[in-house]
Symmetry: D2
Subunit: 243 residues, 4 copies
């Protein structure tokens, strides 16, 4: 029996990713590029699913075997059916880890789990970004330089519509004058959540070794401590102590 | 033009509240009892709405004039239409304060804003509860004793399925052996949120002066600092600094 | 009897501030420049004290009348006597607000109240900084633009050795490639604490209207909810309930 | 070379522990009872030191080899020399984990690292306490029942003078009517901190299997991610980007 962390990398993956600029960078899709580097870690076993799979790639069968779900989506957030969104949210509450990448800040599971808008401002200028550590004590930052550069990335800017995070692990500096809390953790019931900004589809940033290190660390951090079949709301009729 | 804080106390208020034990305690309904004590404060003007009003008491007209919404619901959470739930959540994100009372921990707006299950365990034994301050620096605790007793209340117990709160203001001791974080604050985008446990419909606890003091303080704390028409996600095409 | 918020602006104020560049900008000292703009607010009454005053400007008489202490120090942190440091820390724990400006991140009261190193990296290049709001719901950000520029300021960079703040209100972008959490709140027992980065002594940044707005807002936010004579650790011999 | 987590259990251990009630329960001292159960875990190697050792048991040699320090003290907090207190605080900031047990809430390192008073109220009545989980997602709670009873323990009560914790893992119910946040985590620079309430010297509670499980889990959680020789405050003269 495998004791590896079971990861599913979910991607919306439609025509716009299968041709042109994105396909030139990620010929097998962003999801396979991400799964590939995760699979180089001996403790991780990563598969993939996409929006065009049955049940939009979010079947019970897939979620049953997933310890940590990695989510990449940009253009089709609105098409994910509410039943599947509810399924993902429920799984996270019952212990599954989830990592939201890049524009997943606008996805339904992100907003449903965090309770906020996820809003920010943005600029597609492929500008230079410098990502700074702000919590070197956190395992997600292990082995990552105190700051590192990505030459070209979409700009995301504060104010970022998220609740107070459990930990602020990275803050990004953009050449055009903006800052952004680009690596944040949250917990919801039994599930651990990490958001990480890099990964616009027209830049090869999932091949960046520091980006890979962060996401690999995050998978290990988000692994469930405990998973339960249901979060009951039990009627404890019998008092524990005398009334 | 009034500068008072405009409050709407929303209650599901159906037959089960209009007869029997609850009606004997709250002949005008829980919502009017709550609005009554809020209206004794010179800085507050409180009205009410109920589930049987048009648009389930959650019309744009009502929300337009509401600075802080107080929510009481127990049996009919599932009947609130998703469109109205979304409206409330959106208003909170854009700045409206909200106070969830008692069993509102299972309401759709509570779970939608917090992102967790809201689950807990419970016992209807009308047992003694002692509510302790845990953050005397917080304005919601102002003028409230370090601990106070309610003779009869429904028991709610940890573990409580909520995210890490911004502040833990009260923790309750129940005679039957349970504890519960009974006064918690959260923020979601521009909106402030307070949860407070007391208020089972078969006990006269909204006439308790300390309960009244807490809820009155909470209304003042939850008053918007800022309200906006929309939480935009703007495309900032022009960089602020040279690229 | 005055109901204004009583502020004392404390400054180390020695020869190095009384001559040359700093004196040219702040002929009456940084402390008087800060007190001046605070005194323009009708709800605030600000005085000053300096390290060369009796008891290093931190006498019981001064602290007795101070609701919020504003602290500016850079070169003489080590000279503050431990007895006076302890006095300040004790006052904050018992309810006095405190605002640490600029290089006060290395002062003894800052490190004693936060428990961390206060460390950061820095560069005196008088470079351009852009200060971004990250929590528009917070009263300290009220009336401040979503971002604003200071043309010349000392650079402070992450990682910043502070505990997880209660609220992260501002993050700064520096032209030289650094980011810094430049506006942070904390609570310690009954006392509210705000740290704000701007204010190197060789730049006229306490004349910047946005800097003034932030510090004025912070004074109002840090005002005590409650002050006590002592934080007792009482022996409650008699149980509240039957053993 | 051992890869086990190196723990030092420090105890004040003076005459009052060597005779009478405490010695009857803990004939080798509380420190050895704690080290004994920690040493039953294959990943942990625990030693001890006491206040009567050279340098009060806090020599550089001892701290050099310690990954996680466990601190038990009650009557002699005031006797620990400031130089050694500073040493412990500095080590924690540079990565060493620390676990404060029971009355260590009044110790100098606790107050120095947290920045608050550590105050609470208390009662020595050997009363029944029921310890509740409030964060089942946390590794420190792994394998511990949702609640468990200790028949006799000193009572500690809210309000507890600590900053907002990173995680609230346990809350205790006392038969006499009090509640207490009895298991809390904090971070200070690179160091992880856990406070746990049980362990009055006149009750055999370090033999309780759930207490042992919690402390063992906490040692594993508090293990350093990263340790550094110094927390520098470097002058980064050269900008990373063009000024």
């Amino acid at each position: 029996m495998s004791k590896k962390i079971q990861v599913t990398v979910w991607n919306e993956y439609r025509d716009d990713q299968m041709t042109g600029e994105t396909a030139a960078i990620y010929p097998q899709g962003l999801h396979n590029a991400i799964a590939d580097f995760l699979n180089r870690d001996p403790d991780i076993e990563a598969g993939t699913s996409v929006i065009t799979d049955s049940e939009q790639g979010l079947s019970e069968t897939i979620l049953d075997k997933t310890d940590v779900l990695v989510w990449w989506g940009h253009r089709y957030h609105g098409e994910i059916e509410d039943a599947y969104v509810g399924r993902v949210i429920d799984r996270v509450r019952r212990g599954m880890g989830i990592i939201f990448l890049h524009s997943a800040h606008e996805s339904k599971p992100f907003k449903g789990l965090l309770g906020t808008s996820g809003h920010l401002s943005w600029r597609e200028a492929g500008e230079r970004v410098r990502i700074w550590q702000t919590d070197p004590s956190h395992p997600i930052a292990a082995g990552v330089p105190l700051n590192f550069v990505i030459e070209h990335e979409e700009m995301y800017s504060e104010p970022f519509g998220v609740p107070s995070p459990e930990s602020t692990i990275f803050i990004s500096w953009y050449k055009g004058g903006n800052v952004f809390r680009s690596g944040l953790t949250f917990r919801r019931d039994l599930g651990k959540i990490f958001y990480f900004q890099p990964g616009h589809e027209t830049h090869p940033n999932y091949f960046n070794e520091n980006v890979q290190k962060v996401i690999t660390n995050a998978v290990k951090w988000a692994k469930p401590e405990l998973r339960v079949e249901s979060l009951a709301c039990p009627n404890d009729k019998e008092p524990l102590e005398n009334l």
